[in-house]
């Protein structure tokens, strides 16, 4: 099939170009390494996640509910989470469904009274409930870590109080100083192993789907982010090669051979697709060895997601090139779209904190759906079933853009 010969020729040409290779392979690895090393763990002080929208529903009128509230509103966490207070747990949970919140923490009524031992040392069991957004990848992990640290600190304080033989009334002086230091300590603790109390007095009941990780490997985020970002660039560049062939007259020469025009166009687009597939595969393999990136447990999910990400990106590149007036315009549009898509689509920072129109705009990018898929596989450890929406959206983008590109190129080149 001549389309395949054209695709192989284009791929060979692209991979012989040192400049192109630097952009396709070296740049994403180097930038990911620099960012990853600079940020360390995503829960660290310089974590790029900010203002995670969280609601605290504190129905407890005692000291412990107050302690949660004080820690969550402490200045040390003020950049990380944007906390609101509500009284209706159901209304708060509805806001998660609406995509306005990433987490809701519910401290039930009578929590302090139940948990703090009475004069005889009797106490009951109670749970703090955490509801998280199943569509978000990283922020639930972070909020859960924070709540776990608060819970652990309270447990420690209660244990200390019990050891000291204090009565219920005596916990308040203990809680105050402990909680005062907790906000600052949480940032550091997010990177450490979780406290492992053998006999926790408080339970944390996490109600969400998806998140399992205790900490987030920065490379598991930045490598897919950079890979998708630079993939967009190389797909636009690859698509532009059809206009370069027109300028160099190789396209016209191809059209004087007994090869149908549609097959030439298909071959050119196939070459871009093949190049992207190789680029992404090389990035995945090299990042696994260089940075120890864990790409999840679903090989099938990963293969399907990579193929469809490249399909959508190359289709979009081809479509924008087909509708560009000339090679220069295609270059400018391609670079602009790559940058905007990278910024909006979560190649540089997690999209968990996005709300409103920015969130809608983010969902119009290939990067967003690709990143949703990759983070579901790598961080949430989901399988093919867990990335159904991203793969469906990416496949749709690919089909629509490829068809439009073929039609536009056909119209453009058949004179």
């Amino acid at each position: 099939m001549k389309a395949l010969q054209i695709a192989i020729k284009d791929t060979l040409t692209r991979f012989r170009d040192w400049k192109a290779l630097a952009g396709m392979l070296a740049a994403p690895l180097i930038i990911s390494a620099l960012i990853g090393l600079a940020f360390g763990d995503l829960g660290g002080d310089e974590a790029p996640i900010e203002n995670i929208p969280v609601v605290l529903v504190n129905l407890d009128e005692g000291e412990l509910g107050q302690a949660y509230e004080e820690v969550l509103t402490s200045p040390d966490l003020s950049n990380l989470i944007a906390l609101e207070s509500m009284q209706d747990p159901e209304a708060a949970k509805a806001r998660i469904e609406a995509g306005e919140l990433r987490a809701v923490i519910v401290v039930p009524a009578g929590f302090s009274e139940t948990v703090i031992p009475d004069a005889e040392g009797n106490r009951g069991q109670a749970s703090v409930e955490l509801y998280t957004d199943p569509a978000a990848e990283i922020s639930p992990v972070i909020v859960r870590s924070i709540v776990e640290r608060i819970t652990a600190a309270i447990n420690t304080t209660l244990l200390a109080g019990q050891v000291a033989g204090n009565q219920a009334a005596g916990y308040a002086p203990l809680l105050g100083p402990a909680m005062a230091q907790l906000g600052a300590a949480i940032q550091a603790e997010l990177q450490s192993d979780s406290l492992n109390l053998e006999e926790p007095l408080l339970d944390l009941n996490v109600v969400s789907t998806g998140e399992t990780g205790e900490s987030v490997d920065p490379f598991a985020f930045f490598i897919p982010g950079m890979a998708v970002f630079f993939l967009m660039f190389s797909m636009f560049e690859g698509s532009r090669s059809i206009l370069q062939e027109e300028r160099h007259w190789t396209l016209q020469r191809l059209m004087t051979t007994p090869t149908p025009t549609w097959e030439i166009i298909l071959g050119k687009m196939g070459g871009t697709f093949l190049t992207g597939l190789l680029q992404f595969t090389i990035l995945m393999v090299s990042s696994t060895y260089l940075f120890g990136v864990d790409w999840g447990t679903s090989i099938i999910g990963l293969v399907v997601l990579v193929v469809l990400t490249v399909f959508a990106a190359s289709g979009l590149g081809a479509m924008l090139t087909a509708f560009s007036r000339n090679e220069n315009q295609a270059g400018v549009v391609g670079s602009a779209v790559s940058l905007v898509f990278g910024a909006l689509g979560g190649s540089f920072f997690p999209t968990d904190g996005l709300t409103g129109i920015i969130n809608i705009a983010s969902k119009l990018t290939v990067n967003r759906w690709a990143m949703d898929g990759f983070l579901a596989l790598t961080i949430q450890r989901q399988g093919l079933a867990g990335i159904q929406t991203p793969i469906l959206v990416l496949a749709s983008i690919g089909i629509v853009t490829f068809v439009l590109a073929i039609l536009a190129f056909q119209k453009r080149f058949v004179k």
Partner: protein, 315 residues
Amino acid sequence: MTEMILQANNLHKQYDKVHAVQGISFDIQQGEIFSLLGPNGAGKTTTISMLSCLLSPTEGDALIDGHSVRTQANAVKQVIGVVPQEIALYPDLTARENLRFWGGMYNLSGARLKERVEETLEIAGLSDRANEKVETYSGGMKRRINIAVGLLHEPKVLFMDEPTVGIDPQSRRRILDTVLELNQRGLTVLYTTHYMEEAAELSRRIGIVDHGKLIALGTQDELTKLVGESDTVRIGISGVSDTQALLAALGALNGVHHAGLEEDELVLQATNANARLSQIIGAISAGGGQVKSIKVAEPNLEAVFLHLTGRALRD
């Protein structure tokens, strides 16, 4: 009787406001080298593009080996080879890789493809450098591979669009010799050029194209007869203040049929020019000018073009 391999009939190509080709018709016999001669922008490339099925004629048609360029493009593409004016090659690939790729596009494969790649490398004289990237080649070498691509599938007709543009005289000579050699092997060639000498050397019949029209067609003898016995006189001058008055004075001389100016050179068409040189120089001196050089040429294709259009071929 020699078979016609190409018959172009009233070809037109109209763009929005430009009528690039206006009713061009000609025939090419099998085994012939036919040249289309004309200045840049005359419509030669557009004509070849229509014959190559790259552009669809606005009006008219052409039959190549009995197939219509309008309705049987795929059949036409099987029998034609195209050598575009541009170096239409992939610079990042070697010459051999380029030929293998283009051979594939012409439906060649396997042993046949390998054989044709080696044969065309031999024709281009580049077998020893076949594994070097085309980007490392000189202009002349690139031109030779450009021609080799057009020969891969052994076409019945080879279209060569200004194949010697921008190369050194040695490479040009080599290409012209290659064209003659291919023709001796039986290949029919449609050759476009704006170099009068190339058309004169290669072709028995020549079509002269200007402003999208075929303004003359015939053998060289038939064409030169159009200008009668006129010689072309080129005179380098300086110091003339009123060139229009000088041209009018020269045009009025007995036996001078045409007087024009190209940069600093007067170009005259005159019968028996050598005998009239003293009159011509006198008129220039009277106009305040000084003669720096004089060249007299007997009737040729350039004179024909000048005679037909009032302009030199290189304009």
